[in-house]
Symmetry: C2
Subunit: 194 residues, 2 copies
DNA sequence: TACATTAGTTAGTATTCACTAACAAAGGTA
DNA sequence: TACCTTTGTTAGTGAATACTAACTAATGTA
């Protein structure tokens, strides 16, 4: 589960390629070109193409997990943690727009067992953590408790994803951080406990 | 903008293939096999592969537009219309799961100008209509007016999409109609005007 | 009947793809 | 010094892909 420096370079190059034009753009030729070496050199670092793709997903999932764990362990109220997730995610995507495409490519990975389950795990894991934060918020009174936490998590994550998708489809032209601030206020109004 | 019966057959076959394994699964060979004729026969009905894909998107977009127009013209209150959109969409996806993949493949189409703009148009058009319904709801008092209608539309559409995505990633195993009923209740609670 | 159009066929092509075989240079270590 | 490992190279391969050329059978129409 650990990657060499060279592997991480390749993972980043692959992520950028996916961002530029979907997974179809991720060919061994393009990847080698981006890395500045020949095609066969790729196979010194990864077994095959599926191995590269699953590493891209896994590497991204690891980073996300670490951050979410940090957040959960803090002393803040539930609603505060949700707002911090929005800030973190939107800031992160602003700085690394390439990753966005990887996340939204979830359905493209479907044809490969190994990849689709990787995507599924990332999403499920994140949702579980959001649900537990919402439950905590319902107990500390910062989040309304008249709605099922699982449903609220879908609303929360769906809103975030949709906002990011719009930004992506608009070719990153608007300021995602501002969108984040606005979304944070809306989520607060809609989920705030009485 | 009108399609022959044979073209619609091909559009449906293509949609199913995309559903089964993403756009990568949509090859001329697979499409011909599914249609029960030879590969070159495809080119009697479509100019090229991009033409097929943009027809798939366009055909889907047309159906969606028609339904949304009907909804908007009714006499119901804003919140009622939103609930009807959920019912319609979830029922529709339950009956035609193949289409789900096409919608969520938006990022895969990005590398082709013609296709990415088609996707963008479908989404933008739908969102505009949702925004106008929400504005109406804020005026007739059925939807809270302390939140920007554009933001509420993102929450609404994002929640729907996320619920459908989860259903998809779970291999359609849960009952989407039930999910729709639950989502409808949540949306009502969160958006309801005072 | 003569002819044109439509919608299919078989055969084939250039290109691209992921991946392999075999070799080479550099560095670490016995 | 001798040798092994690591990380790259060049050259090439079989399979798949989108698409074309040329032909044909059926159907509608002048």
């Amino acid at each position: 589960m650990e990657y060499t420096a060279r592997q991480i370079e390749i993972i980043n190059a692959a992520t950028e390629l996916i961002n530029q034009g979907g997974i179809q753009q991720l060919t061994t030729k393009a990847l080698a070109e981006k890395m500045g070496f020949s095609e066969p050199a790729i196979y010194r670092h990864f077994k095959n193409k599926t191995d590269i793709l699953s590493s891209v997903l896994n590497y991204f999932g690891m980073g996300l997990k670490t951050k979410m764990t940090e957040l959960i362990q803090s002393e803040d109220k539930g609603i505060e943690k949700l707002k911090q997730i929005i800030d973190f995610q939107f800031e992160h995507f602003s700085n690394h727009p390439a990753i966005v495409m990887v996340i939204f490519a979830e359905t493209s990975f479907q044809y490969e067992e190994k990849l689709s389950s990787a995507v599924h795990n990332i999403l499920t894991n994140k949702k579980e953590r959001v649900v537990s934060i919402i439950q905590q918020g319902q107990q500390d009174g910062s989040i309304r408790s008249d709605v099922d936490p699982n449903q609220l998590a879908s609303v929360f994550m769906g809103s975030m994803r949709f906002t990011i998708l719009q930004w992506r489809l608009n070719n990153y032209s608007n300021d995602l951080r501002k969108e984040g601030v606005m979304l944070r206020q809306v989520i607060e109004k809609l989920l705030r406990g009485i």
